[in-house]
């Protein structure tokens, strides 16, 4: 086992922030994940090493609402490399109040299979 095959990650699965060690066979396949404190961490180490993903939260324009923006998020995690592009794609979206929590405001963003959904109700002002 050479040190070249070990990558360190800090788990973002919860606020504990476990320090993970992921061992790789050199061809990108995970041999073992160490240092995790729970199942989430073990899965995160594997996922982060092979296909890192993030949930993106942002906000979109809303007409006639109590506030000028309503918060939204991706309904699932998207590839980390696409995070900024997803945020850019969402910037053009505008919705109308009232709106309910969980409403899809942009379906299948950038063909990721993930929707952009509201994260609160907002009544008309």
């Amino acid at each position: 086992m050479s040190a070249d095959n070990i990558t360190h990650y800090l788990c973002i699965g919860c606020p504990l922030g476990c320090r993970l060690e992921v061992e790789d066979n050199g061809a990108g396949d995970v041999v073992e994940v160490r240092g995790w404190g729970c199942k989430t961490g073990k899965a995160y180490g594997r996922q982060e090493h092979t296909d890192p993903r993030r949930v993106v939260a942002t906000s979109v324009r809303i007409r006639g609402g109590r506030w000028a923006r309503v918060p939204v998020k991706t309904s699932g995690a998207v590839p980390k490399a696409l995070v900024c592009e997803v945020a850019r794609a969402v910037r053009g979206v505008e919705v109308e109040a009232p709106i309910a929590i969980g409403t899809v405001v942009l379906a299948n963003v950038l063909d990721t299979g993930v929707d952009i959904v509201t994260t609160r109700d907002m009544e008309r002002a």
């Binding site: 699965g13 606020p15 922030g17 942002t58 906000s59 994260t119 009544e123």
Partner: protein
């Protein structure tokens, strides 16, 4: 989620909660669970829910709901419960005075100036951000210097960007979250400067808010000058020595139009001072017993008004206890008085609650003064718990079961965090 307007404000309530954020909402639910009948929750904003509405990122609720929610989702779930519990919610209203016999003076947008009586009071006013004045940054006084939380409200709720090129001072969680948030909105975040040799925010936020976007974090560094007449045009940063004194010979200029401050929170205790509550000089919040009761009879406190938390889940947990205790107080079910005082020892900044009772299980929240690896948290010689590491930025909580205390007969218990 529509918070209905409260048409009839009664002259007397069993439990009145000042503050409708995460602490206030959980306290209201707790008071209902423990038998209080007429409950009023008051908030100064137009809607209850508090700061959670602007915390649109996810990561809330892992402990409490077992899933990762965004701030608004967390707020909405709680507010739904509050309304389902038939709790009166009065928004757009300030509690501006309180007396030891629990008369509260209110200033309300819809009801004017009113005085109401409360069987028990729960203080849940939260905390406010420290501003530039708190740390006396030298330089000009241009616009463009604001707290990270205010910038968060601008961007996430009002749809206004605070600037185009931003330097962040302080590595508190809100600052880290805003570094990412502004980057996603196309704003250039030039870096985060932290005067301490360690980061102040959660490690996960360093990773997902800074590392993910290649935003540099400079430790042991601070802003020594802000320039600009009308608007910020730049700052000067300099490294600091171990006594936090800046080394001006190594200062450098950065061109920017905005400075965000994430330099800590101060519990909002103006009301607590009106009735001379005993305050803890370390937390700046009230001293509380194991039922979250303050030094005034029937006045309880919870959440960031007591001590600044890093996770909302623990605010909810602590506030539920405060609300239940307020319910017990008005229904005449008070538990026996506490008989053990906790004394913060080695590497312990503070413990909340400040006292314990031997007859019940308690959760003790504490914060360390400095980072430590492979250490043991010791409660005298009755309880010791091994932990991998501790950071000042991460609150530690320890459950103390009655069995640990049954043979303990002293009246003070020292708490230490020591190296193994």
């Amino acid at each position: 989620m529509i918070t209905p307007e409260l048409r009839h404000l009664a002259p007397r309530y069993d439990v009145v909660i000042s503050g409708g954020g995460p602490a206030g909402m959980a306290a209201a639910i707790g008071a209902r669970e423990h038998g209080a009948e007429k409950i009023l929750m008051i908030d100064r904003e137009r809607e209850a829910g508090g700061i959670l509405w602007q915390c649109i990122h996810h990561g809330f609720g892992l402990h409490h709901f077992g899933e990762e929610l965004t701030g608004p989702e967390y707020a909405q779930r709680y507010l739904q419960q509050v309304l389902a519990d038939d709790i009166d919610v009065l928004t757009d209203t300030y509690v501006y005075d309180i007396s030891p016999d629990r008369q509260l003076k209110l200033m309300s947008g819809s009801h004017g100036i009113r005085t109401i009586e409360a069987g028990a009071v729960v203080l849940a006013m939260g905390a406010r951000e420290r501003t530039r004045g708190a740390i006396r940054i030298p330089g000009e006084r241009p616009s463009g210097v604001l707290t990270a939380g205010l910038a968060q409200k601008f961007v996430n709720m009002m749809g206004v960007l605070p600037g185009r090129r931003v330097v962040i001072l302080g590595s508190g969680d809100i600052g880290l979250i805003m570094a990412r948030r502004l980057t996603l909105e196309g704003v250039e975040v030039l870096g985060v400067h932290e005067i301490m040799p360690h980061a102040n925010g959660l490690n996960r936020n360093i990773v997902q808010c800074l590392h993910d976007f290649d935003i540099p974090l400079t430790l042991s560094s601070t802003i020594v000058d802000i320039r600009g007449r009308e608007r910020v045009t730049g700052v000067t940063v300099a490294p600091v020595d171990e006594h936090l004194r800046p080394d001006l010979s190594r200062a450098r200029d950065i061109d920017c139009d905005t400075v965000l401050l994430s330099i800590g929170l101060i519990p909002e205790n103006e009301l607590s001072r009106r009735i001379d509550l005993r305050l803890d000089p370390v937390t700046s919040g009230p001293v509380v017993n194991s039922t979250m009761e303050t030094s005034a009879n029937g006045v309880f406190a919870c959440g960031n008004v007591v001590h600044v938390h890093d996770l909302v889940d623990f605010v909810s947990q602590e506030a539920l206890l405060a609300g239940r205790s307020a319910g017990d107080y008005v229904t005449g079910h008070r538990p026996p008085a506490d008989n053990i005082r906790l004394v913060p020892g080695d590497n312990v900044a503070y413990c909340v609650p400040h006292t314990l009772s031997t007859d019940r299980e308690h959760v003790v929240y504490m914060r360390v003064r400095k980072p430590m690896e492979k250490c043991t948290i010791r409660f005298g010689d009755v309880l010791s718990s091994k932990v991998k590491y501790v950071f000042p930025a991460e609150m530690v909580n320890i459950t103390v079961k009655p069995k640990f205390l049954e043979n303990f007969h002293d009246d003070t218990l020292r708490v230490d965090v020591v190296q193994r």
